[in-house]
């Protein structure tokens, strides 16, 4: 009987450990962890979008400063996030125009910053005019312009289409035109890939004095 106590104790220990193991819901714990990690990445993405708007405030009213600051902040963010194994991609488009007089031709200036990767093709279509760029490397910047005549306040679409990793992406966003006003519009096509993939398109409009 004294020797059998070892076997009885073994059975008790094994039974207790099995009971503990089966009472733990592993799937639920793993799901909770993934959900928490995802919510942190959602917070990071949300903060990044808000910060891009804050950059506009700090460089207020000087177009080249606004563009340089936005591009610098995007590059800085990409670098920091990369060290955390999070990939930030972005196509930043800046559209701006000087004071509009009714029925007089106005120039809509467009500058872009490619932080997506190598783009085979990038097209902008506005007011039936198309401007194309090809073979754009990462961090490439370029500018173009469109002519337009405005008779009243209106929102006009700027269509963007690009070919990236053999896939074609097309979307448009509205440029608000206001008579007697100068405006700067910053548009960001953003994606963040870490534990999860997030993408969003945001635009911010400020009046230039």
């Amino acid at each position: 009987m004294k020797g059998q106590i070892f076997i009885i104790l073994t059975i008790i220990v094994v039974t207790i450990l099995l009971l503990i193991k089966t009472s733990l819901n592993f799937e639920s714990l793993i799901r909770s962890k993934v959900e928490l990690e995802n919510s942190l990445e959602r917070e990071i993405f949300s903060s990044l979008k808000k910060e891009l708007n804050k950059v506009l405030i700090s460089g207020y009213n000087d177009i080249s400063t606004l563009i340089n600051n936005e591009n610098s902040f995007l590059s800085f963010s990409r670098s920091v996030l990369k060290s955390r194994l999070i990939d930030l991609k972005c196509l930043a488009i800046y559209a701006f125009y000087k004071k509009i007089n009714v029925s007089e031709p106005t120039t809509l200036n467009l500058t872009f910053f490619n932080m997506l990767g190598k783009l085979q093709q990038l097209n902008f279509t506005f007011n039936s005019q198309t401007k194309s760029f090809s073979n754009l490397e990462i961090y490439a910047k370029n500018s173009t312009s469109f002519q337009i005549s405005i008779t009243s306040n209106q929102n006009l679409p700027l269509e963007v289409s690009y070919k990236f990793e053999n896939e074609i992406f097309t979307y448009s966003f509205l440029i608000p035109f206001e008579v007697n006003k100068s405006k700067f519009i910053a548009f960001f096509d953003l994606s963040l890939e870490g534990k999860m993939f997030q993408n969003d398109k945001v635009n911010y409009v400020i009046d230039l004095i």
Partner: protein, 121 residues
């Protein structure tokens, strides 16, 4: 003699079970690290929304920020580093070391991208 045999059988059964137990099943995921990261990130965000974070970062007042975070998070094992992209990492030896970052672009008058790194162990 029989007693020794029974003891050996018990030890072999236990060892076999333990190996199976720890190798065949996945380890229990720890939520402590990710919970702490979220807690710290949300605190930094709240401090930022209340206008307390940016100027401290821009003035490089890491000690002040460290004390504020220690108070709110209720821990002494905390280190704060303010830097741009190249950061001097503190020498902390702990298996439980974890870190979180928060990015700022500057304040309303000054553009100066920086990150604050908070380490906890």
């Amino acid at each position: 003699m029989l007693r020794i045999l029974e003891a050996v059988i018990s030890i072999i059964t236990l060892l076999t079970f333990f190996f199976g137990y720890f190798l065949a099943f996945p380890s229990i995921p720890s939520l402590e690290s990710i919970n702490w990261k979220l807690q710290t990130y949300n605190l930094l965000k709240t401090l930022d929304e209340k206008g307390m974070l940016r100027n401290f970062i821009l003035q490089n007042r890491s000690t002040t920020l460290k004390n504020i975070l220690k108070t709110y998070l209720g821990t002494k094992n905390l280190e704060v580093v303010i830097c741009e992209t190249q950061c001097n990492l503190p020498e902390i030896e702990s298996e439980k070391l974890t870190s979180i970052f928060y990015l700022i672009s500057g304040n309303s008058t000054h553009f100066s991208p920086k990150q604050i790194l908070v380490y906890r162990w």
